[in-house]
Point group: C2
Chain length 215, copies 2
């Protein structure tokens, strides 16, 4: 059955790979499953047809035969569960990899998204300059702990897993911030993720949609 995902018609990041379809593309590339993409405009994302697929009016969604899913973490998990390559076979190792998926989106991404909200939605507010260091210190609290746990390992728990895919994707949001420079092992972890052939294919595919117009 054909897999169809949705992505921004034009990503707000201009092709830096931060839109969440990149995470799903990456997972599909890791397990070598072909997929089709339906591009959605900002207007169409808030209309009934898309809201029926995604109640929060976002991308990506995932359709395969009778199955329709939304929420990136759930889509990546679904892909990882159905196809070999993203979750270990051993039951305990598999549960730990899934733990890192939830840790990425609920514990580590939380303060990182707060930072983005502060920049994008409160950048013009009188408190922004004084508040931002507090927000960034909350990001650092999490990164300190993540860095301590990763140590000098390549990946969070044994071989590369869907947990790493999600964690690297979350950390990519900080790439232009300079904050990761304070954590050489996390910066190296990010680079390991970005240099995986599957990530490169996923990045190139989203860039082909979003590359700045030369017109």
């Amino acid at each position: 059955m054909t897999i169809t995902i949705t992505a921004f018609e034009r990503s707000p990041d201009g092709g830096k790979g931060l839109a969440r379809d990149t995470r799903v593309r990456w997972a599909l590339e890791e397990v070598r499953q072909p997929y089709e993409v339906r591009l959605v405009s900002f207007r169409a994302m808030k209309e009934p047809a898309h809201l029926a697929l995604h109640p929060f009016g976002q991308i990506p969604t995932y359709e395969e035969g009778d199955l329709a899913l939304f929420e990136t973490g759930a889509i990546v998990f679904h892909i990882a569960q159905r196809h070999a390559g993203l979750l270990p076979d051993d039951a305990n190792a598999r549960a730990r990899a899934i733990t890192w998926m939830f840790a990425a989106v609920n514990t580590v991404e939380q303060p990182i998204l707060e930072r983005e909200t502060a920049r994008l939605l409160e950048g013009d507010k009188p408190w922004n300059k004084e508040r931002m260091p507090l927000v960034e210190d909350r990001v650092r609290s999490r990164l300190n702990q993540l860095s301590a746990r990763l140590g000098d390992a390549d990946w969070l728990d044994g071989a590369f897993s869907a947990g790493d895919l999600m964690m690297v994707s979350v950390l990519l949001r900080l790439k232009s911030s300079g904050i990761l420079d304070e954590y050489p092992n996390l910066a190296a972890y990010l680079t390991r993720g970005e240099t995986r052939p599957a990530y490169k294919r996923a990045f190139a595919a989203q860039l082909a949609v979003n590359k700045p117009s030369t017109g």
Copy 2:
């Protein structure tokens, strides 16, 4: 094998059930699995023995024989996958229930946690009064969408699932805010969750640890 979870020696909420061990207790009660609880002080949570179990120095954790997990969503998923009662048998319905678990912690909890951060960590800042309405409107944006999707259904997708358990738990954080009064169907959804016998047992168990001292 004995299941052992960790919980606060003394919860910051004084027994309102908002500490995340309540979510895990609730899941274990739904599937009728006995469990033991090891209480952890704030100091011990940041020490090496606990950090080895939970890299972010939080509760709850989950231990069962050789398996050690952290991160509430992952623990609830593990329980739901191993025991009947929290996930549908049908593969597509199961994938959709898991979708709601991720939606609860990544999409709906995000602005709700931002609101808590604003109250707890920035309540004394000069910008707090002017900023809070912006933060609460971001909560409302999500609740508008969630309310529209739930409609007049009892649960998010068919029978009660781990997705509802997580979503109700996230919405409980707003119980004292008054915001849920604006969404009668979400308030009723919350009440349906709270009146489940398994939730009541979980709530009572955490309250027994945290009830205000009469000494």
